[in-house]
């Protein structure tokens, strides 16, 4: 029998495709409704990754591109768990991150912001969750940066996060913000998310217990992927 499906995505917590205050979405948003598709084998399977795919240093953005010293900026730890909607851990899944440096500049040939490139900072990392769904990155707190939307928009400090889960229908890219940032409520990209509580859940929380004294401050960020139905197996619900 075909393995169980995933819960339908609650579109009310996600940004709609068309969000005119974020101008780029206007010409890049489908106008017709999505066609709802029950999960077949094509949706409930997805790629698997192992430790052979990455290197142990890939989750240390302070060291993974360092040439002649550490990058400039506030040293931080970002950590948390990847869970599903049933509150169960999602183990062995690939988590990838990318971000600007402490000055708000990306190492990308298309970024021309006047803040300098940091010779010791690449700005990307990746890791695989452990058996408890736990992940950990060490990095530099990214800076805010200006962008052309209205004449004078500034992105709050953020880290882009990509997660796979175990099914292609769980695939998710999001952005992590930092507790207390005054740019969060006035950012047109943040505000594409219609639910204030969903925005709050995109905001990493200061985690004093995870700081490394005299070294790095820490933020906690849990990620929740779509959950999965239980399948009827010999008249009982399996997997619960």
């Amino acid at each position: 029998m075909t393995p169980a499906e995933y819960y339908q995505r609650d579109r009310r917590i996600h940004p709609p495709a068309l969000t005119p205050d974020y101008k780029t979405s206007v010409a890049r948003s489908p106008r017709f409704s999505l066609i709802s598709l029950q999960g077949s084998m094509s949706e409930i399977t997805g790629p698997t990754f192992g430790h052979g795919d990455i290197s142990p240093i890939d989750n240390d953005l302070i060291k993974n591109y360092a040439k002649d010293g550490d990058p400039i900026g506030e040293r931080i730890i970002v950590h948390g768990r990847v869970l599903d909607e049933n509150a169960r851990p999602v183990p062995d899944t690939l988590v990838e991150v990318w971000q600007a440096n402490a000055g708000g500049r990306y190492r990308h040939k298309k970024d021309s912001y006047l803040a300098p490139i940091d010779p010791n900072f690449g700005g990307c990392g990746r890791t695989i969750t452990d058996a408890d769904g736990y992940y950990f990155f060490r990095t530099i707190k990214p800076g805010a940066y200006p962008w052309r939307n209205w004449v004078n928009n500034w992105r709050p400090a953020h880290i882009h996060v990509s997660v796979f889960g175990h099914a292609f229908c769980q695939r998710l890219i999001t952005q992590l913000y930092f507790e207390g940032d005054p740019l969060i409520p006035i950012c047109p990209i943040v505000q594409t998310v219609p639910d204030p509580e969903a925005i709050d859940r995109l905001t990493a929380k200061l985690d004093m217990n995870a700081t490394v004294p005299l070294d790095s401050i820490a933020y906690r960020f849990d990620i929740v992927l779509r959950g999965r139905r239980s399948t009827m197996f010999e008249n009982r619900l399996e997997g619960n």
Binding site: I13, P15, T45, T48, R171
Partner: protein, 236 residues
């Protein structure tokens, strides 16, 4: 009096994390070579099928077009597909795949033209759920009396297809679509997902056109984000 809190026995669900756009610099995280620097020993997703996969070797090319008719030059597409036997590289797929076959890839565009392309093998048919197609399932079943598939009793065949996931600046949540093959006419005609699309003329937006280049099959698949030929996208 004993107080029973009914909520204690209810499952405590967590809400899914909200999506945010991948932004213009998605390449830094997912394809740093394209952003202009080398950092990882291995970038992921450039080899979809691996060296040992059976089946026809094909190339797929296209461009993503926005509502102004312009190419989207900073898009990133992920591909997920079965092998030529219709089996996904996943523990629940009901079978093994060739050594080195991952069935997943990551594709970026030429920053100047927006053109993208990738090499893979043509997938085989995969079983669907009969309930996907309440209206057409009996017709589909009748037309496939010999269907064995991976033999789930509630399974009917889907025509060979690639599953695509599209992210970019301006796309707030990744767009799911499928690419079918124009040389699979009979299978496409009974595919339960294509048949789910009420407007027959929209089904054509999911079918790639085959040509030969130096004797090699190349499928052209342009994706339109808006307009009268807007590609069909799915809520999966």
């Amino acid at each position: 009096m004993k107080v029973v809190d009914a909520r204690a026995n209810r499952p405590q669900y967590l809400p899914e994390t909200a999506s945010q756009t991948a932004g213009p610099y998605v390449h830094i995280g997912l394809a740093p070579g394209a952003a202009g620097f080398r950092i990882f020993d291995r970038e992921l997703g450039w080899d979809i099928a691996g060296p040992n996969a059976a089946g026809e070797r094909i190339r797929v090319e296209g461009v993503v077009i926005d509502g102004t008719g312009s190419p989207v030059k900073d898009v990133l597409i992920e591909v997920w597909q079965a092998n030529a036997a219709g089996i996904y590289a996943h523990p629940e797929a009901g079978g093994a795949v060739e050594e080195g076959f991952r069935g997943w890839g990551r594709v970026i565009t030429d920053f100047e033209t927006g053109e993208w392309g990738f090499d893979t093998v043509k997938p085989g048919p995969v079983g669907a759920r009969a309930r996907m197609v309440s209206g057409v399932s009996q017709r589909v079943r009748d037309s496939h009396p010999d269907w064995q598939g991976r033999a789930q009793e509630d399974s009917i065949p889907m025509a060979p297809h690639l599953n695509l996931w599209i992210v970019a600046r301006g796309i707030n949540i990744g767009l799911n679509t499928r690419m079918y093959f124009d040389d699979e006419g009979p299978a496409n005609a009974t595919d339960p997902v294509l048949n789910l699309i009420e407007w027959e003329r929209r089904r054509a937006t999911l079918i790639a056109k085959r040509t030969l280049r130096d004797g090699r099959p190349v499928y052209r698949f342009d994706i339109r984000l808006q307009g009268e030929d807007e590609t069909v996208f799915f809520d999966v």
